[in-house]
Amino acid sequence: MLSSTARRLGRPAAALLGAAVIALGSGLAHGQAKEQFIPANFYWVGPYASGGSGIAGGFIDYFKMVNARDGGVNGVKITWEKCETEYNNARGVECYERSKNKGPTGASLIHPLSTGITYSLIDKGTADKIPIVSLGYGRADATIGSVFPYVFPLMTTYWSQAAAMVNFLGQREGGLAKLKGKKIVLLYHESAYGKEPIPVLTDLSKKYGYQLTTIAVPHPGNEQQSQWLQIRQIRPDWVILWGWGVMNPTALKAAQKTGFPRNKILGVWWSGAEEDVIPAGSAAKGYMAAGFNAPGTSYPAIQDILKYVYAKGDGEMEDKSRVGSIYYNRGVVLAAVSVEAIKVAQEHFGKGKPVTGEQVAWGLEHLNLDEKRLKQLGLSGFMPPTTTACNNHEGSGLVKFQQWDGTKWKILTANWVAPTPEDQKLVRSKMEASAAKYAKDKGITPRANCTDEN
């Protein structure tokens, strides 16, 4: 009796002590050598919590699976620590600074999961030699690795995607030439993120002869009556939806209200998750969106997660049904790329040893996630094949397109869609110009011997 009381009393005391010890020790790099630390700086509260929590879940679950199934990367366990960024730049920077020196080798790489935070970390990551991986967001021109040695807008940038979307629309119309004279409306979130595709789409409109109208939706975008009335006036053939958060379902609802066919709306990948269509209910049916990861749980890697993690009740997601959702799977992509980069780095710098951020950056520049490798990973068809190089931090620029059938996302394009080669070149030249300007502004001398291919 007495002892149980003591135990009960003792717990909070121990907890306080423990918390204090953790707080004190957190600034230091602590001991165990066979660990590779990756920060999990995401957001679980606020307007974007649904996306953030899904991605965080997939991200962490994949690590758990790798640790459980493979015992880590060549025996080096992956560790992580969550930090709430609230999708807020200041908090994001704090999380970064807090996490960058953890683990025996510091943070291996970081996924800011916010364009704003990415911007804020570019200088810091470069100075600290910690790769900033902005997978599917962030600066498009960071593809130019000679200027941005530690920034990796992997797989696909907004610019590549815009070009790929045009390519896809061309396919839908029966060839790019058919785009001539067509009317395309870009309905975008009035922010840095929303404005990203405008230059590319404008350039391509000149090239392909479609008529582009851009319509801004002010943040947060929960009221779009006037925009859609404008769209109704324009009567476009396609609407590209470059939305974020509540703007997406609202757009679909408003489209329904104004009688615009949903299957003529094509969303960007941040407009193409379950969270973006479910609130719109039936109004979302037929809506198409891009994506650099496939939905569903049929992939071997996802199955492994269910087997090694969820079967043991160790999963991150409270709601297991969200495993396989778009955001969850996106988290898996983020994690898989991270693990792969570490593996590549280990293979180059010494197997079975934790690698530093600088080495991971090397790894990220030498990714070779071809079909074969993806198959080994159990991720074939799940994410686009990606091969990076010193001066190509993007890798592929490939996307898939999917359509909402009212209950789930269905992949429309079996193959990964890329911009046409000429368009790719055009995008690339824009990136180079932009990066050059950046280098000039910041007084950066681009790295020598940095080429597009390894």
């Binding site: 717990r11 907890a15 953790i22 679980w44 509260v45 709430e84 704090e94 600074e97 960058k100 502004d441």
Partner: protein, 358 residues
């Protein structure tokens, strides 16, 4: 108790009206400054400098600006972040477009731009008061962010409206490390805080407070109410503008207009309320609280919960933090509505009278 003020008599008005009439306070301030300028840069690590101290100082400056307007001149504003944005983008453009412009000049001119915008949006204050004015300042908040996003000229035609701050260089010295940036920000904040203190203890400040406390009486005395209010808007916005420039240049490096959103405005308003409305010190205390507290919560909540055996579902800890934070604000307002500065003041008064209670 520690205050021994016997024998500290003033033989001139200059001595009587100095900022810290008590010798112990002067010693305290000098010691604080010495620690801030010498000890901190020597001992603080990168994390403390870059993630805690620099934002703390920058937010303190912004809070100071808002405190001038709200605390001293009594004009409630919810547009602080907008004025910061103007400062940041203003400084960027001056630095970008005028090659000869020294960086400090750009910061100052960024502040001046913000001051002009402040005056513009302060004009309604001549007719409207209280919450009506507060909501009106939201117009500034939304309009400015819209304009900066929308007109590419401001961001030098960067595709996304994002600006990348140039490197800070003064007389050939580059401020690249956390230490040097911290010292620069600290120096600027110290000087501006001193200037603010000087203003509030002289006619300018008295006019602000007079307008705040009783505008009709102020007018009858001969204080030009209109000019006083607009001056408050201008000075306040200048401070916010410089804070914005520092936010961009010394803290984040790259900023987008969206970063200066309503949330940020509220955060700064929080700082002055928690810290103490109408108190220079309060701006600093409030900034410290708002910057540090969520971080502390974040660091402690989950380890603590784990330690006492509660397994928080992922995401729950973040929400719990929010709940605690909200609850604490309410609690705090109930306990001391006048803020941390008031607590400090009360404590100081007690110490001066020690061992007597009154």
């Amino acid at each position: 108790m520690l205050y021994r003020e016997t024998g500290q008599f003033k033989t001139s008005y200059a001595a009587d009206q100095q900022i810290f009439p008590l010798r112990q306070d002067r010693i305290g301030v000098v010691a604080t400054l010495l620690v801030a300028f010498i000890v901190v840069p020597l001992v603080a690590n990168e994390y403390w400098l870059e993630a805690i101290l620099i934002p703390f100082l920058v937010f303190s400056l912004a809070a100071l600006g808002l405190n001038i307007l709200t605390g001293y001149a009594g004009q409630l504003s919810l547009g602080t972040a907008a004025f910061m944005a103007v400062g940041a983008f203003g400084a960027y453009n001056f630095e970008l477009r005028l090659e000869w412009m020294p960086i400090l000049g750009s910061f100052a001119l960024g502040g001046v731009c913000a001051a002009f915008v402040g005056i513009l949006f302060g004009l309604p204050s001549l007719r409207i008061k209280g919450f009506y004015l507060a909501v009106a300042t939201l117009a500034a908040q939304f309009f400015v962010v819209w304009a900066l996003t929308h007109f590419n000229w401001f961001s030098n035609y960067s595709a996304s409206g994002v600006i990348t701050a140039q490197r800070i260089e003064i007389f050939g010295f580059y401020f690249l490390t956390g230490q040097s940036k911290y010292l620069l920000v600290l120096a600027i904040v110290t000087l501006l805080a001193l200037a603010a203190k000087n203003m509030v203890r002289s006619e300018t400040g008295r006019a602000w407070m007079a307008v705040r406390d009783f505008d009709v009486a102020a007018a009858v005395i001969g204080i030009p109410v209109m000019r006083t209010k607009l001056l408050a808007f201008a000075v306040s916005s200048f401070y916010c503008g410089v804070a914005g420039a520092l936010y961009a240049y010394a803290y984040l490096g790259t900023v987008e207009p969206d970063g200066f959103n309503l949330d940020l405005s509220f955060r700064i308003l929080f700082m002055i309320i928690i810290g103490g409305v109408g108190s220079i010190l309060g701006s600093f205390l409030g900034a410290a609280f708002i910057v540090l507290f969520p971080i502390l919560l974040n660091r402690f909540a989950e380890p603590f919960a784990n330690a006492i055996g509660i397994d928080l579902p992922s995401g729950m800890s973040s929400n719990l933090e929010l709940i605690i934070f909200g609850g604490l604000i309410i609690f705090f307002l109930a306990v001391e509505p006048l803020g941390l500065a008031r607590l400090w003041q009360v404590a100081k008064e007690k110490l001066r009278l020690w061992p007597f209670p009154h």
